[in-house]
Amino acid sequence: MRLQSINANELHFSMEVVMSYITCENLELGYEGIPIVSNLSFKVDKGDYLCIVGENGAGKSTLVKNLLQLLKPMVGTIAMGDGLKPYEIGYLPQQTVVQRDFPATAWEIVLSGTLSKCGKRCFYGREEKKLANEMMEKLNITDLKKSSYRNLSGGQQQRILLARALCAAQKVLLLDEPVTGLDPKATAEFYELIGSLNKEGISIIMVSHDLQVISYATHILHVEKDNSFYGTKQEYLNSDKGRRFLSESREA
């Protein structure tokens, strides 16, 4: 019995040595010296599907900005490992007002995702265009190539932004409330698409307060002021916090 527990510890230890894509330890996040959320620890491994839930104002958006390195954590570290370089998180932002009537074709937008691969060059090369073409094919939006972004449906727009994110990075995708404003059918299709990308080995970090997404997730991070929960989906569903959150959300 005793021997077994030592083995379990050793196993745990060796898991720690192999770095995860993203390891966050004891984060304290906030703006301009005012902490919003503290005591936050979690990690993202290859193939994980992490769902970040929490109430409005709990600090989900702040966490997103920190993961993208747009903000620096006040305390603690966000370490990248396992071959993931900084700025290699594909990001699908919430739509802004500016974008809704933006005159640009799908192709122009998807291609702009490859900009980080251009380095100091000013123009897109053959490889960037090939990558953009591949990603559009993968997401089944090649026929929208010449369509104007502002004339497309919400679901199609999200696919275009997703293709752009995949052009920028192929290991980890970070999606910030991606189904806001989509109708139920488009929402279901979008989740299905993300699920299939996840099966191909792309790690997914999804910020959402939509309960549907939990069925796809492998891990849950419930952000709360200084008492956040991180664990597998099963652990979460069995925890008090998880049960309370699910029942409250269903009522709402």
């Binding site: 933006f102 702009s112 900009l115």
Partner: protein, 266 residues
């Protein structure tokens, strides 16, 4: 007259290029604010009897552009209020200074020509034309070289920043270029009407065209045609140059608006 046409076409070209970005980034008010700041600077330069007024106007306007852009990004300071404050303030101080300290006999004439553009565009010196040509080449070159980055920053600044690009730097460059264009364009249409040159061609193009590249090219061509027409009409009918160009820009906008409605119905 050839000088006026060269300068007019170049200014129209540059302002329409930047205009697309400024309108889409919801920065069109910055153009308006900056032109008033440039007016204030011009007034002070006139009072000090500086031989070359651009020496003072250019740096002041550039500094104002950088400050305005910073406040626009900071959500805590209300960006639109800051712009309104700065532009009205500059306008008032400019007029006050001109009225009180100017040795010119015709103060209201001076003010009117800086606000609404002077006929001096028809009597430009060779040096002024040369400077305008050089500045325009710089602007167009900058726009072409950084076209892809400008698109990325305009469409989605957060995403671009998240891929590790220095968007602040690009924003800063856009602000500086905007300031340069406004100062040059002030000679043509005057400080009150500068923002018309920036906004109208971009808005017209956005009605008609669906791709970003198309909008930029269409806006540039439209703006140049309007400026050409405006200068020629103003010479023939002896109307004020600036106001004539802007009036034609307005007409062009309505034509495009009607066309876009008709085309969409089909």
């Amino acid at each position: 007259m050839w000088y006026a046409i060269i300068v007019g076409v170049l200014i129209a070209l540059c302002s329409s290029l930047l205009g697309v970005t400024l309108v889409l980034k919801r920065f069109s008010f910055i153009g308006d604010g900056l032109s008033h700041v440039a007016f204030g600077a011009m007034a002070i330069a006139t009072v000090f009897k500086l031989a070359n007024t651009t020496v003072l106007i250019m740096p002041v306007t550039i500094v104002a552009a950088v400050i305005l852009l910073r406040t626009g990004q900071n959500t805590k300071v209300k960006g639109d209020a800051a712009v309104a404050m700065l532009s009205v303030g500059a306008l008032a101080i400019g007029y006050l200074v001109l009225n009180k300290f100017s040795s010119s006999a015709n103060v209201s004439g001076d003010v009117c020509s800086t606000l609404f553009g002077s006929t001096s565009i028809l009597t430009l010196s060779k040096a002024e034309v040369l400077m305008c040509i050089i500045m325009s080449i710089v602007v167009v070159l900058f726009y072409c070289l950084f076209y892809n980055r400008i698109f990325a920053v305009t469409f989605d600044e957060t995403f671009t920043r998240a891929t590790g690009k220095k968007t602040e730097l690009y924003n800063l460059m856009i602000a500086i270029i905007t300031a340069i264009i406004i100062v040059i364009a002030m000679n043509l249409v005057g400080s009150l009407l500068v923002s018309a040159l920036i906004i109208f061609p971009a808005l017209s193009a956005m009605r008609m065209i669906n791709s970003f590249r198309g909008v930029v090219i269409y806006a540039a061509i439209l703006s140049v045609i309007c400026a050409l027409l405006g200068i020629i009409i103003s010479i023939l009918a002896s109307t004020p140059v600036g106001a004539t160009i802007v009036a034609i820009d307005i007409v062009a906008y309505f034509i495009n608006w009607v066309l876009s409605v008709i085309l969409k119905r089909d």
